[in-house]
Structures are given as structure tokens and as C-alpha cells.
């Protein structure tokens, strides 16, 4: 028995770090050694995976990052130095609102201190997003076909911008000069954190997705105002003038920048709406039944024609190109 195990004794002693007596290369590559090695590693992985203690280590780690949190809270007194950044993503149904705004209120809206100030309007390129630097150093990514109005120099009291379409704000936080995004009759104020706002075409709503901290969502006359906290989202129904708060984030809210999309039992009608918004194409279907198909997939930075083909193949549909997009047909048609 001992004789039989002699080689294995040697291999295992080497494996466990007991000896430096390295087996021959052909042994190392051989099945006998490999199996023992895998068993050794597997038992180690299982042990350490099981016995490691995330709660203990997190509480230690939390202590170590705490001091910084206190500094962050001090930013009220030293705002520029500890400026936090927040993120906002905003979308609005149509550009018509903006056109109305341009002709009447915008001048007053933007100039809170009463001094006359020039405003700048940027309209994004038709097929991709445009990055804009604001006068305070903040940056904005503006989705295709969207537009943003902002003053050449921000007012003394408040930083206000007017958006039509969809945008991703990367804002330097300064609570003495609140940053407010205005869309239609809805306003969103940064309360020192990161958030995303979106409103999809034809839905008469503005959706806020808060990544960290909180934001305030309110209508112009402040009748309706809600604070939306981290990890949740708020929906402003513009027709009803009502705000609903949800305890989760909206799926794919950053896809128009990341081009990464994930659908989980999503009706194709919703899938198409999101793809239209991101890829700036028109997607149609010939049969109303197609709209209700539940669709599950992940797309990572794919071109629209690939995505369209994947969807068609998965659900046995045929797809044809149109002037401005694609139309899905039932196979028999």
C-alpha cells in the first residue's frame, strides 16, 4: 500500500508546499497529477469562498472610508474644494416645447439675478451624442437631435438650464448655486448627488433615476414636489401633474451612451421604443401580435442591423429595411 502511494506522496508534498522536489514535466501534465491538483485547488477555493466573511471585512472597510465621508459633508463650508459631481439623464417627448420656450420665457428663466445675459443653444448631431462644457466646468452629453439652452455665464443665485430631448449631466455640485434642469413645466434640482432623468417620446412623463443621494422633482408652481432617493426612480406624469415614486431604477437608462442593453421578458413594443431612441431608427411591425412578444436578450455595443436580425431570428419573424428603419413581419406574410 505505501509503495503504491509513494509517487503520490511526493506529488502531494510538492503541491501543498511541503517539499521543493518538483515532479517531472510529463508527470505535471499527466492526468494523475492534474486530478489531484484540481482536487487540492477545488477544496481550497470551496473553503475560502465559504469561510470568508464579507460582513466583518465590510465593517472594517467602512471604518476606513468614513473619515472621507465627514469631509464630504463639510462641503457646505468649502464647496468648490469638495465639490461633488452629479449625473443627470433627461429626456423629453418633443422639441415643440422648446420652440415655444425659445420665443417667450427662456430669457427670464435663465437670468435669475436680473442682469441681461446671452444664452447659448446647442443642438446635438443627428446620429450620435454631443458633449458640451458648461460655463461652470460641468459637462453634458446630449443625445441625438436633442437641444440644451444655458447662459453664457450662470446667474449669481442659481444655475439653470433648459433641456429638450435627452441628456446626461455631469455637474459640479455647489449647494450655494443650485443646479436646476427645467423640462416643460417640470424641474429637477440636484441635492448633491447623482441622478438620471428621462422621459420617453409619447409618454407625457419625466422619469428620474437616482443613482446616489437624492434629488428633488417638482412642478413649476411647486404644487407637487417629491424627493427621490438613491436606487429609486420617480415618474412625473405631466398631464396629470402627479409624481409617482418607485423603489427601483429603470432598466437600460444609460444605454443611449453605453450601447449596452438588457431585456428580460420585455414586450417587443417596449424593446422597439428603447432601440428607436438609442439608434435613431424607426422600428415597425405589421401584426399587432408582435408587440406583445416577451423578449429576453443582452446586447453589448451591437449595430442596429445585427440586433434587428437577432430579434427576427429568435421569434421567427422576417424583417425588411425601410427608408428610416425596419419593419417586422410574420413569416407567413
Amino acid at each position: 500500500m505505501r509503495e503504491e502511494n509513494k509517487n503520490e506522496d511526493k506529488w502531494i508534498a510538492w503541491l501543498t508546499g511541503e517539499s521543493t522536489d518538483k515532479p517531472e514535466p510529463e508527470i505535471l501534465e499527466g492526468a494523475g497529477f492534474s486530478e489531484l491538483k484540481r482536487t487540492w485547488e477545488l477544496t481550497g477555493t470551496a473553503y475560502s469562498y465559504r469561510k470568508s466573511d464579507p460582513d466583518k471585512v465590510w465593517s472594517e472597510l467602512k471604518e476606513k472610508i468614513q473619515p472621507e465621508t465627514k469631509i464630504v459633508q463639510l462641503r457646505r463650508f468649502n464647496i468648490l474644494k469638495y465639490a461633488a459631481i452629479f449625473v443627470a439623464l433627461i429626456a423629453l417627448t418633443s422639441i415643440t416645447f422648446l420652440l415655444v420656450r425659445n420665443t417667450d420665457k427662456t430669457g427670464n428663466q435663465l437670468v435669475a439675478s436680473g442682469t441681461v445675459m446671452k444664452t447659448i443653444q446647442t443642438i446635438a448631431k443627428p446620429l450620435s451624442y454631443t458633449t458640451i462644457k458648461l460655463p461652470d466646468g460641468s459637462t453634458v452629453k446630449l443625445n441625438a437631435g436633442s437641444s440644451l439652452k444655458y447662459p453664457e455665464k450662470f446667474a449669481e443665485t442659481m444655475r439653470k438650464v433648459i433641456l429638450s430631448g435627452e441628456a446626461f449631466f455631469d455637474i459640479i455640485h455647489d449647494s450655494n448655486h443650485p443646479f436646476v434642469v427645467e423640462i416643460n413645466n417640470v424641474e429637477i434640482e440636484d441635492l448633491g448627488t447623482s441622478f438620471n432623468i428621462s422621459a420617453y417620446p409619447g409618454m407625457d412623463q419625466v422619469v428620474v433615476n437616482v443613482v446616489t443621494g437624492s434629488v428633488r422633482l417638482f412642478d413649476k408652481d411647486q404644487k407637487e414636489t417629491k424627493i427621490i432617493a438613491a436606487g429609486s426612480s420617480g415618474k412625473f406624469l405631466t398631464k396629470k401633474g402627479e409624481i409617482i415614486v418607485f423603489k427601483e431604477l429603470t432598466p437600460n437608462f444609460l444605454s443611449w451612451i453605453t450601447r449596452e442593453l438588457s431585456f428580460h421578458h420585455t414586450p417587443l413594443s417596449t424593446v422597439f421604443e428603447e432601440l428607436e431612441n438609442i439608434y435613431q431608427v424607426k422600428l415597425e411591425f405589421s401584426d399587432p401580435g408582435i408587440a406583445n412578444i416577451a423578449y429576453t436578450a443582452n446586447f453589448d455595443k451591437l449595430q442596429i442591423d445585427d440586433i434587428v436580425n437577432v430579434i427576427a431570428k429568435t421569434h421567427h419573424l422576417s424583417v425588411q429595411k425601410t427608408n428610416d428603419g425596419y419593419v417586422f413581419l410574420k413569416k407567413s406574410e
Binding site: E8, K22, A46
Partner: protein, 205 residues
Amino acid sequence: MNPSEELNTFEAIRHDSQQAFEMLFRAFFRSLTAYAFRIVRDLEAAENIVQDVYLKLWQNRHEVIITTSVEHYLFRSVRNHSLNYLDKVKVRSDYLRMEMERERENDDYQPYFPEIGLLDKIENAIGALPEKRQVIFRMAREEGLKYREIAERLNLSVKTVEAQMTLALKHLRDSLKEYKHLLLLFMLLDKGISGDKCQCDRKAM
């Protein structure tokens, strides 16, 4: 966490969200610790290394640029910290040295997202060893003790410890053979032909 969730989480961390940071920590902590353990063979050291990697990530969150994925970045950092640790404490076995050379080229971290079912099976297999053999095996595997230290603690000869270790590992190999389909996954991964990622393993976390 899928790559786009990782990206959103990391974006939130860059904007100082401790909540997002905790999410990222909990998503990968056990897997990263298991990975570090494979290199340093000391659970406490492994946990400290992982904590250190996260602390550095938090401190440098505004500067860090992640070109691959957050997961990849974390595993890379843990590997580098673990290798530095071994250099510092100067216990680098021949076997580990060879493994780590290999690790430098290996970017597949799938084995560190083990299925919960497999973990149970491994634990049961170890639990089924005869008592003395089990104690010896656990001392070597879990506590990283040398044969001599085990022999002294248990008042046995080094030869006995050696023989029991061999019997234990062979026995475990055989009992885990029943789960060939699970072991196969590890074998394929070992050889770097994992193909597409097995999402089912991740969900099991």
C-alpha cells in the same frame, strides 16, 4: 452583476456613492478572497488583501481608469497584491511559483464563482473522511500548516501525516469524481477553453 450593471455601479462610485461601493464589494468579495487564497493560502491574509484592493479603489476612484471591466480590474489587482504579499513574507513554494507564472497569462476567473451546490458537495466529501484524516487534511488545506507542525500538534510522525494526506486527497478526488459534470467545468476552465461565460455560476453567488 453584469458588465453594464458594473459600469453603472462604478460610475456611481466615482460620484462618491458608498452604497454603490458596498454593492460592488459584496458582489465580488467571496470570489476575490477565494482567488487570493489560492495564491497566499492564508484566509486572513486573503481577506486583508481584498480589503486593501477595495480601499485603494475607493481612494483612487476619481483617477482610476478601467479599460476592461470592473471585474477584470478587481481580479488583476487582487492577483498583484497577493503576489506582492508573497514576496514580502517570502513563503513562495515552488508549486505556487509555477502556478503564478501561469496565472499571469490567465484571464479567466470563472472558477472563483463556484456553484453553491458544488461547494456543498466538496464540504460533504471532506466531512465524510475518517476523523483523523479529516483533521489532518483541514490543518494542511485550511490552516496552511506544515506536515511537521501537524505531526507535533497531533502527536503523530511526519510519515503518518504524509500518508494520511495522500489518502485524503485521493479519496476526495474519487468522491468528487461522481460529480464529473461539475469537475469537468473546472477542468475545461483550467485549460482555458471555457468558451462562453457560464452565467448560471454567477447567479448562484
